[in-house]
């Protein structure tokens, strides 16, 4: 196992204050370092999750961040896997510790996805997230691909527009208690009919926003953690990743996130838990329907749509999903997303999350889930409460 001795994030939003990704990385890192009880010189490796040099206009971002954070001399590595970038960076950090190559690792996820480029430019860049030579050449957008995948899922599982609306309403309502959230909103059902149709059945209110921000973790080998953190800190007990064919049409069933199921099973096996052990989950809701498809793939409910309608994923439900607001409500600075999800789970397991969102019952295990493409590059992390949390 690997201890999460420090966890923090900046607000996720559209920055209008003249700050940049180096500022946000520094802010998240300093907060996580302060929580960890270790010093800069104790950090053996810096892993940076950042999706695209086109966002930061900085190749080898880990090198300049190591300089900014006073970590020169440490091993540096940049990780990229589309929307799964942040979670894969966490996995790379965990691997460093489990292999014995590092005792303390800093993981930073960051992307300026909102303020540095015009929305049209970002949309074009995201078009290269899919197989450029086949699907990409049609000019298809992420929203259109997710819409086609959801249509297949809805047909097979009885999903309705009301279910999409309910996911957005739930996540943005949760975001209202999260001071770091990009879109805290109390949506009324009538707003959805007036929202522009982006790719049927997805209207704008079913899409997550583009955000700026950073998140950071300080990971530690158990025997290297400071005494004050050793028992209390939550643990990463399972990691799993898997891939699917990038083309939706190439798959046996475009409705099913098969790689996510494989990634989750690997993480469950490593942690020695089953889906029914998961008390809270941060799930990749790039689009409203993708949350339900992910819940199905993760095995968190055999009937996700019925569970949604029954309120099982609500803040007071049996397995709250996206208490942070998820991508839909908290926001989505791509590289920061997976690191932020893991930080959220860690803070919840330790009882340190935002008042109003911190569950009032003891939590045993939490799950963080991301993917790149439409369920193509999948990464799942399972965290467990510390001994004295």
């Amino acid at each position: 196992m690997v201890l999460v001795i420090g966890a923090a994030q900046t607000p996720f939003n559209r920055r209008r204050d003249g700050s940049g990704f180096r500022d946000w990385s520094g802010d998240a890192f300093e907060a996580a370092l302060a929580m960890s009880g270790i010093e800069r010189r104790d950090i053996d490796a810096l892993i940076v999750g950042s999706e695209s040099d086109f966002f930061t206009l900085q190749l080898n971002p880990a090198s300049v961040l190591a300089q900014d954070l006073g970590l020169c001399g440490a091993e540096t590595l940049r990780v990229e896997g589309g929307g799964a970038t942040g979670q894969l960076a966490v996995h790379a950090g965990v691997d460093r510790i489990l292999s014995g190559r590092a005792r303390h690792v800093a993981v930073i996820g960051v992307d300026p996805s909102a303020s540095t480029l015009a929305g049209e430019s970002i949309r074009e860049l995201y078009g290269y997230s899919f197989d450029f030579w086949t699907d990409g050449l049609s000019g298809v957008t992420a929203t259109a691909l997710y819409a086609l995948s959801w249509q297949a899922f809805a047909t097979a599982n009885g999903g309705q527009i009301d279910d999409l609306n309910a996911v957005t309403i739930k996540n943005r309502r949760n975001a209202m208690s999260n001071p770091d959230a990009h879109l805290p909103r109390e949506h009324r059902v009538e707003e959805f009919a007036a929202s522009p149709m982006i790719a049927s059945p997805y209207c704008r209110l079913h899409c997550s926003p583009l955000s700026d921000g950073a998140a950071a973790l300080i990971l530690s080998a158990p025997d290297a953690a400071p005494e004050a953190r050793r028992n209390r800190a939550p643990r990463i007990t399972g990691i799993g990743a898997a891939s699917d064919l990038p083309g939706l049409g190439h798959r046996a069933d475009p409705a099913v996130f098969g790689a996510k199921s494989r990634a989750a099973q690997r993480a469950y096996d490593m942690a020695g838990v089953t889906p029914s052990d998961i008390a809270v989950a941060e799930v990749y809701d790039a689009y409203a329907g993708a949350e339900l498809q992910a819940i199905a793939a993760l095995g968190l409910s055999p009937e996700p749509i019925r569970s949604l309608r029954d309120g099982d994923f609500d803040a007071d439900g049996t397995c709250p999903v996206n208490l942070s607001g998820g991508l839909m409500g908290q926001g989505a600075p791509v590289g920061a997303t997976g690191v932020g999800q893991t930080a959220t789970c860690a803070l919840m397991l330790e009882g340190r999350y935002h008042a109003g969102l911190q569950p009032d019952r003891p939590l045993g295990h939490a799950l963080a889930d991301t993917h790149g493409g439409v369920g193509t590059t999948c990464a799942v992390t399972i965290l467990s409460a510390g001994a004295t949390a």
């Binding site: 197989d131 086949t134 049609s138 298809v140 190439h250």
Partner: protein
């Protein structure tokens, strides 16, 4: 601070050249696997059915069946399966009637070419 970067790429078409030439000429050219006989459009380098290397190309010639479709401000796109292909493809559908269930590949002389569907001619 403002910074403007203009990039012009020269992309090598490599093993995908027969597929791209087919798009330019309106011919659905699939990669084929002689081990199991499957044809893949869009092309795959390794057959997902039997994991053998695809070792040939075939012009599927015919039309495609529309499986599902999405429309909105992002455009009009369909998932469609070409007759004789094992897998389905994503294509532009903005030149198809709303109720179309069949289509053919449009010739696309643009550079780079793209997948666009048009109404199947009456036979």
């Amino acid at each position: 601070m403002k910074r403007n970067v203009t990039l012009e790429y020269a992309l090598g078409e490599g093993w995908l050249a027969p597929w791209l030439d087919g798009l330019r000429e309106g011919r659905p050219v699939a990669s084929t696997c002689s081990a199991c006989g499957d044809a893949h459009f869009p092309p795959l380098r390794v057959c997902p059915t039997c994991r053998s290397r695809c070792d040939g190309w075939r012009n599927l010639g015919g039309g495609a069946t529309i499986l599902c479709r999405t429309q909105g401000t992002d455009g009009d796109f369909a998932m469609a399966r070409f007759d004789g292909a094992r897998i389905a493809t994503i294509a532009r559908a903005d030149r198809l009637p709303e109720d179309a269930t069949r289509a053919v590949l449009a010739a696309c002389p643009d550079d780079p070419p793209f997948l666009s569907l048009v109404t199947e001619p009456r036979t």
